[in-house]
């Protein structure tokens, strides 16, 4: 795949009450953003485990967004405050270990901020496009694939693409 | 006990009696001064109203000298000097950019925060009880209106000294010395301060209000802790009489002079005779008896 046609794979972990609803609003307002982004809904940003990020990188994600309600607006009062502490550490750790800042980004998007959701998502996509494919992690992933071709993976059977099937 | 001393310009000039009485009282209470060598003017109002950097640098030069002299705390008997030193030090020490600039101007590094005390804090440090212990002369006929002025208590977020609106620490000292105090309204009002030369009309107006309120609330003496206030309140009474016919003279004492009296010193010894409005305790007592 030439770099020119390369499209990054972006995952967004979002809370049910604010950002997911904000993304819904982006839809009802017919705002446009790139198709690269796929959302995984959890109840609260406080419920997003940093290991989810590692798992997503392992699945070939090039960029990740974590988003929840603004401080003081959490549906559960304080979930996002706990999340904020957690991500402060995890973000510093990943950057220290050599993961560029833009690979993992964070935002607060409220249910009324459809436009902001689009802005944030577009920014993540653009930032990641600029950085190119996540080569460092790809190496880890491909090494895994070559070293353990027969390793049973819980998801191996899922990778069947439509073309292959037909 | 030894305390660092920053006299300030007035102590060497118009308020010489303040300096004299302060030294005498402090000595009597068993404390001595370690004067900051080669101190400069704190910059006063003139510097900080026109050039903030100059104001900070002038004030901090004295703090620097105190640090070099190995002092931990200094007393600035003039309320204006006290205010300038405290505020400048606070600003310089809490604003890194300003600190760097001041250090460049003074060509030094500022490491230590010096505790700057006003007159009342000095006596609190020496020990308030020493005043009543050493009291030898009864001054019960004095009914003092304690005047703090504006700069002793403000800004209270930086000085952390007494209450900004209803202070009471000076009253405490005056009462320990055996005099009575009155509750009045103009404790923390401004006397016009640095306008003394350029806008005498303002100073006369403000100072007159202060004196009148003290009198209205039954005081017979005004007690101050600032040479600038003293010069406005005492020295300007001549002009006040001309501007406001019918103005009656009202004695204004430095806190140290009042304490000096209680400690058995004589008016002349304390420099009270240098005041524009004459004060003599015996006369006051006699007047009181006559009434």
């Amino acid at each position: 795949m030439s770099d020119k046609n390369w499209e990054p794979k972006i995952v967004a972990f979002v809370c049910n009450w604010c950002t997911y609803t904000g993304a819904d609003l982006a839809g009802t307002s017919r705002l446009k953003y790139p198709t690269n982004v796929k959302l995984i809904r959890v109840m609260c940003s406080g419920g997003i485990d940093p290991v989810f990020i590692l798992k997503a990188f392992e699945r070939g994600a090039d960029g990740i967004l974590v988003s929840g309600c603004h401080p003081n607006d959490c549906h559960y009062n304080a979930g996002n405050f706990h999340a904020r502490r957690r991500w402060t550490f995890f973000d510093e750790l990943l950057e220290y270990l050599g993961v560029e800042k833009g690979r993992l980004q964070f935002s607060w998007v409220s249910a009324s901020e459809g436009k902001k959701f689009v802005d944030v998502v577009s920014k993540v996509v653009n930032d990641v496009k600029e950085m190119g494919p996540f080569k460092s992690y790809d190496e880890l992933n491909s090494e895994f694939m070559t070293k353990f071709p027969d390793m049973p993976e819980i998801d191996k059977n899922m990778i069947i693409k439509e073309e292959e099937a037909v | 006990m030894k305390v660092g001393y920053f006299p300030g310009c007035s102590q060497t000039g118009t308020a010489k009696e303040y300096d004299i009485s302060l030294r005498k009282v402090v000595e009597k209470l068993g404390t001595s001064f370690d004067e900051i060598k080669d101190w400069t003017c704190c910059g006063a109002t003139s510097a900080h109203v026109t050039n903030h950097m100059l104001a900070s640098a002038l004030a901090m030069r004295n703090i620097m000298l105190a640090e070099q002299q190995g002092l931990d705390d200094i007393v600035a008997p003039c309320a204006a000097c006290y205010n300038r030193l405290v505020v400048s030090q606070h600003e310089t020490m809490t604003q890194p950019a300003l600190k760097t600039e001041v250090e460049a101007v003074l060509d030094t590094k500022l490491n230590k925060e010096i505790k700057v005390m006003n007159l009342i804090e000095l006596f609190q440090k020496i020990g308030k009880e020493k005043i009543s212990e050493n009291k030898t002369f009864d001054i019960k006929n004095i009914k003092a209106a304690c005047y703090y002025g504006c700069l002793l208590v403000r800004p209270s977020s930086i000085t952390h000294f007494d209450d900004a609106e209803q202070p009471s620490s000076m009253e405490e000292l005056v009462e320990l010395a055996g005099a009575k105090t009155v509750d009045w309204n103009y404790k923390v009002e401004c006397c016009g301060a640095a306008h003394t030369l350029a806008r005498r009309d303002i100073v006369l107006d403000l100072s007159k209000k202060i004196i009148d309120d003290a009198r209205d609330h039954g005081a017979n003496v005004l007690v101050v802790a600032c040479p600038m206030c003293h010069s406005n309140l005492d020295m300007r009474q001549r002009a006040m009489k001309r501007a406001y016919p019918g103005h009656k003279e009202f004695p204004v004492l430095f806190l140290t002079e009042l304490l000096g009296l209680a400690l058995g010193m004589k008016e002349k010894e304390l420099g009270i005779d240098k005041h524009t409005i004459e004060f003599n305790y015996k006369e006051l007592a006699a007047e009181k008896a006559a009434v």
Binding site: K9, V11, Y20, T21, A23, D24, G27, T28, R30, L31, K32, Y33, P34, T35, K38, L39, I40, R41, V42, M43, C44, G46, G47, I48, D49, P50, F52, K55, A56, R59, G60, A61, C74, H75, Y76, N77, A78, G79, H82, A83, R86, V118, E153, I154, D155, N157, M158, I160, E162, A165, V166 | D163, A164, E165, Q166, D183, N185, Y186, D213, D216
Partner: protein, 665 residues
Amino acid sequence: MKIGVFICHCGENIGRTVDCPRVSKACQWLPGVEVSLDYKYMCSDPGQNMIKDEIRKKKLDAIVVGSCSPHMHEKTFRKAAVDAGINPFLVEIANLREHCSWVHDDIDAATDKAIDLVRMAVEKVKRNQPLTTIEVPVTKRTLVIGGGIAGIQAALDVANAGYEVVLVEKEPSIGGHMSQLSETFPTLDCSQCILTPRMVEVYQHPKIKLMTYSEVEKVEGFIGNFTVTIRKKARHIDESKCTGCGLCTTKCPVKKKAFNSFEENLAYRPAVYVPFPQAVPNIPVIDETVCTYYKTGKCQMCVKVCGREAISFDQQDTLVTEEIGAIIVATGYKLYNIEKKPEGSMIKGYGEYGYGKYKDVVDGLQFERIASASGPTSGEFKRPSDGKEPKKIVFIQCVGSRDDSKGFSYCSKICCMYTAKHAMLYKHKVHDGEAYVFYMDIRSGGKMYEEFVRRAIEEDGVKYIRGRVSKITEKNGKYIVKGEDTLASMPIEIDADMVVLATAMIAQTEASELAQTIGIPYDKYGFYNEAHPKLRPIESTTGGVFLAGACQSPKDIPESVAMASAAAAKAMVLFGSDKLEREPVVAKVNELFCAGCFLCKKVCPYGAVEVKEMKDRNGVVYKEIAYVNEGLCQGCGTCTASCPSKSIELAGFNNEEVFAQIAAL
């Protein structure tokens, strides 16, 4: 596992940018997918019937619907699944409209993404667990905390609906601040006259258990199932014997030892007292701190005069427990006091207004008492210091409100109105008097409110001056008020006979302690937080606890009453069924592996995590682990992400399900 995939075109809404037939065809080949279909409107009756038919025909275990946002039609499809015999939690929605067709233009890319979204949903649904809604029983009794107008209204509403109410009031009588008011704005009707009948109604209501001079000590349990411990403070009067004749209070020799707090300290009361003549219940209390008997062991004048032997000096506090289903908190407010506050307090007091040293500088409630016909001056305007009628009176608004420096940032909301009322009452009685009001802004939003203020200005000639007062000084019995009229840009000095400060409405002294007892959040001022500022203003974030009146934020009487009725309605909604149904999205601890670090307990916003002791066969505790109280858990999952050993999972959004979605990316 057999999964059915149903792709909705949503008319053209999805179909225009997502090639729905291609999506359904592609998904047919996903592992586990038994059937994959697309249809014009999946949410329509034929669409739903199609899903039901397929479930029955193909014996599907789970379904995925590719349609609009789950926030739109998740419930619809879950219901359809249930009708066809599938657990509702084995339904997943792939959001193909809001998150795909509406936000993209490129048909190919959007279709690819749609397939991915469906695939993720399929992988998740494979790991979904069938869940059953949690049912909890409901105790149909309400606890109302606070017997002011809000508490009274809430108690009456709930009781009139036929449910039992326990009304707890910390003072000896119900009535609250409203009973202290003289007249009320904007109608100027007498406060006592409209309140007293309500108080009596509470007292006589067969469904209301009134507990005055009592405080809530402990609240345990959860929505529908609270156990509340109430401390009934010793009155030293036997309530069952006392007839309320009041002889003891008139004969008590203690005259000037205790201020009468109902009269806002403008009068004294005896050691045995009824707070005010209309008190409910009309039973006195003995104040131990001033009673001669408690100091010297002698006197007993009250015992001598009481014909019913109702005095009981050795009465002790008692603890009462009540089973409660819903709690209505209506603890009200208190007034900001301008006295000097200790170092480090959030508020400071007003030195420039004398820190309370001037006798004739009074606050709003004191003025109410002076204006009240039943007050210490019998409704005549007399100033406290010398009893003279004030001829010039100054009202100062926003004292302690809208003041970051000495009070609170918020607007107390009612002061504009009651100050206008005060000025009016004064002018109606003292015709030759002058009334000045220093204000910053006049906030008079409300029915007939602005008209009321205009009346004060236009008809009664109250002079309004826009500006804050800088200082009040005293001179020869006059109070010199220094202000500035910022409209004319003129300094103004008024030599007033009396000054009335419209001090801020602030949270009750022990508001935060009570909040911690009940387990509800409060803001930095001590006011209780509502669950949602717009859509859930009556509920606290804790299930089954509702808010009424000024304990939530400053409020006037009609607002408090409206909120109280709303809170009562909320409680009755809860009582509408015998069992409470809750979404089963709750956390559950793996008891085998929990190491008991209680990080989950620390992060839980609801206090839903409790400590559970694990005992061996001999009954010896071998470890303490976390336990989730399903009644309290709201299902945020913050605990699951915090757990280092992953020994706590959120049903419905468990980690395996999330991993499956990630794996399907």
